[in-house]
């Protein structure tokens, strides 16, 4: 009797999991393995071109300082964007979770998720219109302010950060919101009744309890930003060369897929190492 129950359980688990894992295998694992295979070839294996197995694509990363420099630049960008998104997103999530109820919360949530509903290229190009000298932002400021200001953020690092923060902000708001909502209000009331001030409550209760959500959001932002290429290219101009744009060049302009694939896997490895090194520290912070 218990045997059949266990079997039924197994069948249930299997049938529920298999669609997702089948999809992951077909849509992610197979193309990724193909790219991994490409990264060990000397040339694109199309047509009659000669090719052989080699690790020269990985060696190329170490032969010049260019790639390492760009990777460092990309990691810095990732930290900067993640930091800004957390600073902007966490207070917003707190207010949504704890202070606002009912209809207005739904409306505010809609505004948060709105960026997800528009095409990312459209978002970036609208930022280009806003940030450009003589653009929407400058005209708006000059009509409000009594003195003339010259806002030309286009083609600069701040422009890239603004565009990326806007694109990825919903992640940190949504994950923090879920964690913040799970905090029992009685805990906060208890702390207040014992005489804790607002900063102590934030630091000792709210932040530690919502940290898992906050960190999940931060990781969700950091990883894609390190590999981003479209936003830096369009908003960054001369300073918009990052590790991601170099990978894109290999695929689109230079047609050196093996090198592009190798650089992508180096990026993946570095990101995984960063997360692995950071995870014990982060786990300790949570307890």
């Amino acid at each position: 009797m218990s045997m059949t129950l266990a079997n039924q359980q197994r069948i249930k688990i299997f049938s529920l999991l298999s669609p997702a894992y089948l999809w992951l295998t077909v849509a992610i694992f197979l193309p990724l393995s193909a790219m991994f295979y490409f990264s060990f070839l000397s040339d694109v294996p199309f047509g009659q071109k000669e090719w052989f197995y080699s690790t020269e694509n990985y060696q190329a990363f170490f032969q010049t300082t260019t790639y390492a420099k760009l990777l460092w630049k990309s990691i810095n960008l990732g930290l900067m964007v993640t930091g800004c998104a957390v600073l902007v997103g966490f207070p917003c999530a707190y207010v949504l979770a704890k202070s606002i109820q009912g209809r207005s919360r739904e409306a505010l949530f809609l505004l948060v998720i709105l960026p997800f509903w528009s095409n990312s290229l459209v978002r970036i190009f609208s930022w280009a219109i806003v940030l450009r000298g003589n653009g929407v932002l400058e005209i708006a400021l000059n009509t409000i302010l009594p003195f003339e200001v010259d806002v030309n953020l286009m083609f600069s690092t701040p422009a890239i950060v603004i565009g990326l923060v806007h694109s990825y902000l919903p992640y940190v708001i949504l994950t923090s919101y879920l964690a913040l909502q799970a905090i029992d209000d009685n805990l906060i009331d208890a702390a207040r009744s014992m005489g804790a001030n607002k900063l102590t409550i934030l630091w000792r209760i709210i932040l530690p309890l919502s940290l898992p959500g906050l960190l999940a959001g931060a990781v969700l932002i950091f990883v894609p930003v390190v590999g981003s290429f479209m936003e830096p290219r369009i908003l960054g101009g001369r300073v918009g060369t990052y590790f991601g744009t170099v990978i894109e060049d290999q695929f689109v302009a230079v047609f050196n897929w093996p090198l592009g694939a190798a650089l992508s896997f180096i990026l993946l490895a570095v990101v995984l190492i960063i997360l692995a090194v950071a995870s014990p520290i982060l786990r300790r912070a949570q307890t």
Binding site: V44, F46, G47, Q48, K49, T64, T66, Y67, K69, L70, K73, R132, G133, N134, M154, F155, G236, G237, R238, V239, G240, T241, V246, D249, V252, A253, V254, F255
Partner: protein
Amino acid sequence: MMKPFFLSTAAAVAIVGSAASADEIRVLNWQGYGTDLDWSVASFAESSGHTVIHEYFNSEQEMLTKLRTNPGAYDVVLINAAFTPQAQSEGLIGPIDVSMVGNLADVPANMAENVDLNAGGSLHGVPWTWGLTSFAVNTNEFKELPTSIEVFWDGDYAGKVSIRDDALEAVQFAAIATGQDINDIKDLDAVKAKLTALMPQIKTYWGSENDWNQFMAAGDLEVATFWSGSASRSMAAGLPVQFIVPQEGAIGWLDGLSIPTSSTKKDAAHAFINWMIDPEFYVKWAADGAPASANSKAAAALPDDAFNKRVLGDAEVVARVQFQRPVSTENREAYLALWQELKAAQ
């Protein structure tokens, strides 16, 4: 008397039309680059009976990859002369049957006998169009048009300068600025130093003609490298720009139309190429902005104020042009490394 004559010619045309089987040819080209104009394809279909279908590429490497991976899929392909020898040596394209392209008689010898188009000892690409990579300036910002390439390094235009995000173009541009032969750069260090000095002047790189027009119209740029064909289109569209061929010279390119070895419709392909270098086609195309034609009769048929006659028809200008030759893999890689290093340092 006229009517029977007309009818009989129409009948004759119909017979010839049906005798030569109506084929569907596939053309591989950059998008929006002459071969895919609706009126031209319609007029070719009417006169020859052949229909034309297009497929596009975004870089020369992509074009070569498509030829390698899809044998038999294309009947006409546009190949820049600097890539014709590579395509020929890989056996991707076959020789042109000169007798089937009547308009070749009007292509001057300096184009028709181009070393690269005649890779392998015979004509493998019919000279179609040529043009320059030089630069254009915003005429609202320049009282007097510059005559020297040194305007790119002029501090007055700091932050208003752009070049294309392309390693080869950047290096050859700097080679011209340092007085070198673009096809045989002896002093790459001088090129690097010149580009390093240029970088702080640059506002952004441009990638496409559309980018360029937007940046120029928004006032982001005042001086930027540009292609002659694109410049003629931008000027025709009303942008306040002027194309400059500086005293130091300019980069020249020559595009040819080739027929893949694997094509099964070579007759129709030859007929289409002949139509592409026909003066009738070119004059109409030039009205909405085309590069210079390789056919001298077509060039002569342009109105006197046409960009391609006024700027590129000047023999003194043509004498300053250095035409691009094939670039070896080693050089290409060296240029790419140099360009990436400079970009990464920003």
